[in-house]
């Protein structure tokens, strides 16, 4: 493209205009000349015509005056004097007009003078006749007329005026011919100049419009280019800042605005260093401003690594950039352009990549990638640790390096699966190490795909499971051992159970024999002793009868002991089914049945109503019987037992309390009170086998309850049994 709007174009336009101007000037001059001439001719024509008209008018006025005079003369009527007078005045005025035309050079003076003189004479003649007609008689007047003087005058006037008129008519004819000639000339001239001008204008228009078109085209193109440039600059993904030669900001694009936080209007004219503040990310030092360097060196410069841009709001963005000088041709540097971009994402991606790489590298598992033809491509630290090959040794080798000969088939299988895009998961297999050891590994192979989804390789994750396998084996071994042991144990348990059953059976038979066989001799001892007492009591000494009585009471005690032990054993053995029990009714029955609980012996007060409990009638009977027995038994001599029985509810459980006025129990004794064979009173003061409270506790426990007491020596005791209550 030629330089747009150059000197050539301008010269062309100027020359065109000059040419058009000249032509117009010539045209105007010609037209003026022609016009002026035409004007003059017209004026001449007008004057000639005026002169003719005046002359005609003058003659006509005289004729009117003469006509009026004749009329009066003939008739004597005054009314003819009007036209005479008008004609007279007109003739006089006409004469004056002619005189004026003389002074303007249109009529010759002497002829007009002559005409004027004649007119005066004529008018005088007319006046004379009229005067004569009026003062004398019409005849006189007619005489005057008949003199012909008037006629002569008139003819002379006519001739002079006719001459003049003819002359003027000739002038007029000449002038109007010239006017006509001039008009033609003028028309031709105007037409010609008009045509020439038109042609010229057309030419100029063509020339100019061509020039304009060229200019327009050039203008649009440059406009478009400028727009394109601006749009490009604005839409460039990188920040762009342009400075002048002094390093002052001239423009910055949208991305530059975004990154720096500066708007173009605020930034323009500022020193670059204000808008584009950079520092080293690690050291915090401020490096030389790239633009300064560009301006100084006049060549393209790059930016050091780890550069961060301090944004307007103080936040920092890692950037990468370069600067370049702006110059025309080989001319001086006119400014600089700085291109930079936000590399945070790149940096993050890089960091993520590095993190991943370090994860892979530091993983315990061997992570290996290979091509589809089985060439090792990557080799991590785990692979090195497990297989013993360094990365440089392994990369480029075939993966079969790691596969024992007898398992080579497996690789083909794995590869086939991979080509189909499938994973191989947790394949338990064996691999070879560098030093020839065989390792148990768990292998997971995943296909690696390119962007189009084609399988191009595989990543393998191998875990050394030798230890696990060993552990599994050991575990299995242990499990077997355990099973064996369990079997043995079971055998032992069965055996023991059998033994236990036998023991229980023995115990039962022991109890049975206890209740039968052992009591039989006791009865015999007791009975025979009694027999002796009865039959020979009087024959033997008093001491001897005493001994026999002791034998009897001992046998009795022994019998009681056996019965208590049996009762206790029964409690332990027998199944206990719980059901709601009316404790109050049960107590009343028990009291009725037992002589030592009768009102004459003991004062037993039941605080009615007693709450019902979940219990087992037989066990509960045994339990409360023993408690009542104890309550009335352990009282100081000669004290009537007082027993108060009442119940309380605590959290759905019922506490049956037996409060007595007995001798009480010392603290230390309370602890072992409920144990078997515990008698806390020595000697024969209070009878007992030491099993009663053991039975109480056992029966309560069998019913899911508890027993306890609060007591103090000498202050009575309060025994209680707590059992599940019955919802009312």
């Amino acid at each position: 493209m030629q330089p747009v709007g150059g000197a050539n174009g301008r010269r062309k336009i100027v020359s065109t205009f000059v040419a058009v101007g000249c032509l117009l000037a010539v045209s105007v001059a010609v037209a003026s000349l022609v016009g002026l001439r035409a004007l003059k001719l017209n004026r001449e024509l007008a004057r000639a015509s005026e002169a003719i008209r005046q002359l005609e008018g003058f003659v006509s006025a005289l004729k009117d005056a003469e006509t009026g005079q004749r009329g009066y003369l003939l008739t004597g009527e005054e009314r003819y004097l009007g036209p005479y007078k008008g004609g007279e005045a007109d003739a006089k005025r006409g004469a004056e007009e002619l005189q004026r035309l003389v002074s303007s050079g249109d009529l010759p003076g002497n002829e007009v003078q002559r005409l004027s003189d004649l007119t005066m004479k004529k008018l005088a003649e007319l006046e004379e006749t009229i005067k004569a007609r009026r003062e004398r008689d019409p005849q006189a007047a007619i005489e005057v007329v008949r003199s012909g003087r008037g006629q002569v005058l008139m003819d002379e006037i006519r001739s002079v005026a006719g001459d003049l008129e003819a002359r003027k008519q000739a002038e007029f004819g000449k002038a109007s011919a010239r006017v006509k000639e001039t008009n033609v000339t003028r028309t031709i001239t105007f037409t010609l100049t008009g045509l020439v001008n038109l042609a010229f204008l057309v030419w100029a228009y063509g020339r100019l419009s061509r020039e304009m078109l060229q200019r327009d085209a050039a203008g649009t193109e440059s406009e478009r280019e400028r727009e394109l440039l601006a749009t490009t600059l604005a839409s460039i993904g990188d920040g762009v800042i342009v400075t002048d030669a002094q390093g002052d900001v001239m423009s910055l694009n949208r991305e530059a605005e975004r990154i720096t936080g500066w708007g173009i209007s605020e930034a323009r004219g500022k020193k670059l260093i204000e808008v584009f503040k950079i520092e080293n990310e690690r050291t915090g030092q401020i490096p030389e401003n790239p633009i300064d360097k560009v301006l100084r060196l006049g060549k393209v410069v790059g930016l050091a690594n780890h550069t961060v841009l301090v944004r307007r709001d103080g936040s920092k963005v890692p950037i990468g950039d370069s600067g370049a000088p702006v110059r025309r041709g080989d001319g001086p540097v006119e400014g600089a352009v700085l291109v930079f971009r936000d590399v945070s994402e790149e940096r993050e991606a890089q960091a993520a990549k590095e993190r991943l790489a370090s994860i892979v590298e530091s993983a315990d598992d061997a992570i290996i990638s290979k091509t589809l033809d089985g060439t090792i491509v990557t080799w991590n630290g785990g692979a090195k640790r497990i297989f013993g090959y360094e990365a440089v040794e392994a990369i480029g080798q075939r993966i079969t390096l790691l596969i024992p000969p007898e398992r080579l088939d497996e690789e083909a299988h794995v590869l086939a699966q991979l080509r189909r895009g499938e994973r191989v998961e947790h394949l338990e297999t064996v691999r070879l190490t560098k030093d020839g050891r065989r390792l148990d590994v768990s292998l997971t192979v995943s296909p690696l795909k390119d962007e189009d989804g084609h399988v191009v390789g595989a990543s393998k994750v191998l875990r050394d499971v030798t230890a696990r396998k060993r552990a599994e084996k050991e575990l299995m071994e242990a499990r077997k051992q355990l099973e064996l042991h369990a079997q043995k144990l079971e055998g032992a348990v069965t055996e023991r159970t059998g033994e236990l059953r036998a023991t229980v059976a023995e115990l039962e038979s022991f109890c049975y024999s206890l209740s039968h066989d052992m009591r039989t001799p006791l009865r015999a001892i007791q009975s025979f002793s009694q027999l002796v007492l009865e039959e020979d009591g009087k024959k033997i000494s008093r001491d001897s009868t005493g001994y026999l009585r002791k034998a009897i009471s001992s046998a009795e005690r022994m019998d009681q002991l056996i019965q208590d032990v049996l009762a206790f054993a029964r409690l332990s053995r027998h199944e206990v089914n719980l059901e709601p029990v009316d404790v109050e009714g049960l107590l009343k029955e028990i009291i009725q049945e037992r002589p030592e609980l009768q009102p004459n012996k003991a004062d037993i007060r039941i605080e009615s109503p007693l709450l019902k409990v979940q219990g087992h009638v037989a066990s509960l009977t045994q339990c409360v019987t023993n408690l009542l027995d104890n309550a009335v038994k352990f009282v100081a001599p000669s004290v009537k037992p007082h027993v108060r029985v009442y119940s309380e509810r605590h959290n759905g459980r019922v506490k049956l309390c037996f409060e007595d006025n007995g001798i009480g129990i010392e603290k230390e004794a309370q602890l072992r009170l409920f144990d078997m064979f515990q008698r806390i009173h020595t000697g024969n003061e209070y009878e007992g086998t030491g099993i009663g409270l053991a039975i109480v506790r056992k029966s309560a426990e069998r019913m899911g309850g508890e027993v306890g007491l609060e007591s103090e020596a000498g202050r009575g005791s309060r025994f209680w049994v707590e059992l599940a209550g019955v919802d009312s």
Binding site: S513, H516, D517, A524, D559, Q563, L566
Partner: protein, 163 residues
Amino acid sequence: MKFGKSFLVAEDDENDVFFLQRAFQQAKIENPLHVVRDGQEAIDYLSGTGDFSDRNLHPLPYLFILDLKMPRKTGLDVLVWLHEQPELRCIPVVVLSSSAQVRDIEKAYELGANAFIVKPASLEKRVELAKLIGTFWLELNEVPVVCTEGLEATRKLRQSPEL
């Protein structure tokens, strides 16, 4: 000998037999007291076999006093056997045991025992018991005729081919 109101006592312990006999004497109960020493003998006696085939010497008892713990066959074995002898079922059986074992009691009643008494330890109590037995079983208690005079006859009739 006529079918009279005799007792049959099955008891292996001589002392107990002695004390029982003494108690009956003291209670002035003169009815004959036949004693067998174990369960098998009791069965033999009741079925009239072997040594006991002579019903004159060993008549069917009016009351059978049975100890439970005996050699050879126990008292419960005897009850099991007795339960299967319809013609003997109305001989009242009083079990006299050394202990009141719940299972024994239940079993005894299940097998048709009429009473279950724990052997008293003292002489007085034994006499008392003997008196009670005399009063209750010999005087107050009524049994079907077939169980008294008719018992043996019925038994014989049943065994004869004509019936």
